[in-house]
Amino acid sequence: SCPLSSRCCGPSSAGPAMNCRAEVLEVSVEGRQVEEAMLAVLHTILLHRSTGKFHYKKEGTYSIGTVGTQDVDCDFIDFAYVRVSSEELDRALRKAVGEFKDALRSSGSDGMGQISLEFYQKKKSRWPFSDECIPWELWTIKVNVVNLANEQERQICREKVGEKLCEKIINIVEVMNRHEYLPKMPTQSEVDNVFDTSLKDVQPYLYKISYQITDSLGTSVTTTMRRLIKDTLAL
């Protein structure tokens, strides 16, 4: 199930759990826009799903660090977005998106795929059972790669995709604003079951990124590659 180290938790619960909300976004982009479009969406989601670092103190109180933000301009899209100021997080997302883009390109299919960002909680199990990962929010971004014939089309595409991404950001913010289920704030011993505490400057909720390349019928062409880009078990 999990190709990465044994430190990760066991397979996710089969399918979304009862209280795992799922959101789907779709974008059509040119090949060279894939990375920026994905980063814009993923960063916007993680902006809302990251807090400052927790510092636990005596008597069980904790304080929260500060999250900085920065503007990012896209090169191939008339678009700008805000991301959390964390180079580690940015690197992690870029790595995932880069792999997705490469997989899209080399799949030889019509250029369709999807990338998923799943937020989960860990539920510790007794030995010998491994911990369970219980997703509570799943974002799926469906990508359709188009090929354009000339520069004029590309220019229009820059603007159109920019406008589309604006809509996606508004959609994401709408979902965030519903104030639906969020894991409750953990005690110090539980914090690694809820948050990714491995970054030095911010603290996102535990998340996983995976992707799939599909053919035009929507079925998996290549072996479904589920890559756990981020897995956490603070040791």
Partner: protein, 550 residues
């Protein structure tokens, strides 16, 4: 009554949260319309001054305007706080682009925990605001301001006025947060005609009369509050220095608890400290595009005195600056809190002991108890440095002078001056004077080559794009796009675009500084005979040279 269920402590906290939420909302909106990329730093250690656990800088002028508009009140039913964003062309025509509304409705959520849930949701709402401010049409317009137009803001409090947005305006909701006294709603109504108008039309084209001419009408409502450029102060005559000095600054220190007996300890401490005076160094410039803009419009070119600080200067509230801002000495380095001298001691998280006796239990939520502490008595954290105040007396005066003069030039001067200033002709400073104030005389104030980058520039703008001051160059190949070909964001703070801009905009030659400018004409005239004599002496050399070119 609505309030009986809410403890007085909760009520106080809630009011404080709403007040600071309103102020931060204004900051986010105005900063998003400055025309530059914003960048603040994450800090794993709480500084105690970053409200809602977000690094959002406080521009003093903007806070001042917001407080003025609010006049001590809070958003309530029928009393909304509105930030109006509009565009003003170089001809003086203006058009409303957006109205951001912070409103309160009657729908109360009595069950919600003020000190914890409301606070965190307000934080989330600010993040949403950061995201949404980049996706309305005005964002892209504001990024390209400086040549033909500037973006202005106006804050008012009361009833929302949307009629200036034209027909068919659209609304986007940023979010809502329920509280025991009402639901806070943040939304934006924006003009859509602009969406069809390519921003290209605003780049170096002839006046745009005739395209949106029907919107250039007199404002139906006389402005109850003045318009302000997002990125430079609109020279009010109040002469007051914008409060770089505040008698007391509310500091928010948050501390949460989940351990049994689970208590949420939320403290808001009131501390007296003054933000330090603007750091006066040689390399400090006014990091605002508005000055660069008027710099282009008016033939009055001010050289940027070291003390000419304005928006984004060091006096932005030290804790905020040093928590998420720019090191005055190193433009590309963001520093963390407390790393540089001059940081007024920000009160630390109050010792929990002091609150222990002030905690109280609230209704359990999810099995976790939350309580709030009364503000600890840290009013004694007096970090006022009165001595430093005297130092900056004169720089502030100079600041005042410069700003007022600039605005006058921008607003009142006829267009022929624009033409004059835009011409990049050699020896422009020797061209015939216009009949105008000495202030605008290029002889007295020689044309300024684009100023060097302010190390504090980036305190408001991104570390990479500071110094762009787009619009301040009168060369023809201004970077329209911040991304030059083949460059990409990399780990280094300086990217190719910054490199280009820096090398296109070399610092002002000291010989052209304002000190010398006043005498330059006379001196130049005096030295002409000498120069002529030298040339005459070498005439044979010159002739020989010309021969080689034949």
């Amino acid at each position: 009554a609505m309030d009986t269920d809410l403890s007085s402590q909760d009520r106080k906290d809630l009011d404080k949260f709403i007040k600071f939420f309103a102020l931060k909302t204004v900051q986010v909106i105005v900063q998003a319309r400055l025309g530059e990329k914003i960048c603040t730093r994450s800090s794993s250690s709480p500084t105690g001054s970053d409200w809602f656990n977000l690094a959002i800088k406080d521009i003093p002028e903007v806070t001042h305007e917001a407080k003025k508009a609010l006049a001590g009140q809070l958003p309530a039913v029928g009393r909304s706080m509105c930030v109006e964003i509009s565009l003003k062309t170089s001809e003086g025509d203006s058009m409303e682009l957006e109205i951001w509304c912070l409103e309160m409705n009657e729908k109360c959520d009595k069950e919600i925990k003020v000190s914890y849930t409301v606070y965190n949701r307000l934080s989330l709402l600010l993040k949403s605001l950061l995201a949404i401010t980049r996706v309305t049409p005005a964002y892209r317009l504001s990024r390209k301001q400086g040549h033909e137009y500037v973006i202005l803001y106006r804050i008012y409090f009361g009833e929302v006025q949307l009629s200036g947005l034209g027909e068919g305006f659209q609304t986007v909701r940023v979010g809502t947060v329920g509280t025991p006294v009402g639901t806070i709603t943040l939304s934006c109504a924006y003009r859509i005609n602009l969406a069809f108008m390519s921003t290209r039309q605003f780049e170096r084209t002839p006046p745009i009369m005739g395209i949106i001419i029907d919107h250039f009408v007199d404002r139906p409502y006389p402005s109850s509050s003045p318009m302000h450029p997002c990125n430079y102060r609109a020279g009010e005559d109040n002469g007051a220095v914008y409060p770089s000095v505040e008698d007391s600054q509310e500091v928010c220190t948050t501390s949460f608890s989940t351990s049994p007996p689970s208590q949420c300890v939320f403290t808001v401490t009131k501390t007296h400290f003054q933000t330090p005076p603007p750091v006066v160094t040689d390399t400090l410039k006014v990091p605002v595009m508005g000055l660069a803009f008027s710099h282009q419009l008016s033939s009055s070119r001010l050289s940027y005195q070291p003390a000419a600080l304005g928006v984004g200067s060091a006096d932005m509230g030290c804790p905020v600056l040093f928590a998420g801002g720019l090191n005055a000495a190193h433009p590309h380095q963001l520093i963390g809190p407390g790393k540089e001298g001059g940081v007024p001691p920000v009160p630390n998280q109050p010792a929990h002991g002091t609150q222990a006796d002030q905690e109280r239990m609230c209704t359990p939520l999810d099995g976790v108890h939350y309580s709030a502490a009364t503000p600890s008595s840290s009013e004694d954290t007096e970090t006022v440095s009165n001595s430093s105040e005297g130092k900056c007396g004169s720089p502030h005066d100079l600041l005042e002078t410069i700003f007022i003069r600039k605005v006058g030039a921008f607003v009142n001067k006829p267009i022929n001056q624009v033409t004059m200033a835009n011409l990049d002709i050699p020896f422009a400073m020797f061209a015939p004077k216009n009949v105008e104030l000495e202030d605008n005389d290029p002889m007295v104030n020689p044309p300024e080559s684009p100023e060097t980058e302010s190390p504090l520039h980036g305190s408001l703008h991104s570390e990479g794009s500071s110094g762009s001051s787009t619009g301040n160059t009168h060369d023809d190949f201004v970077m329209i796009d911040f991304k030059p070909a083949f460059s990409k964001d990399d780990i280094l703070p300086m990217d190719l675009g910054t490199f280009y801009r820096e090398f296109q905009n070399p610092p002002q030659l000291s010989s052209l500084s304002i000190d010398i400018g006043a005498q330059s004409m006379a001196e130049d005239l005096d030295s002409l005979p000498e120069k002529l004599a030298v040339h005459e002496k070498n005439v044979k050399e010159f002739d020989a040279f010309v021969e080689t070119l034949q």
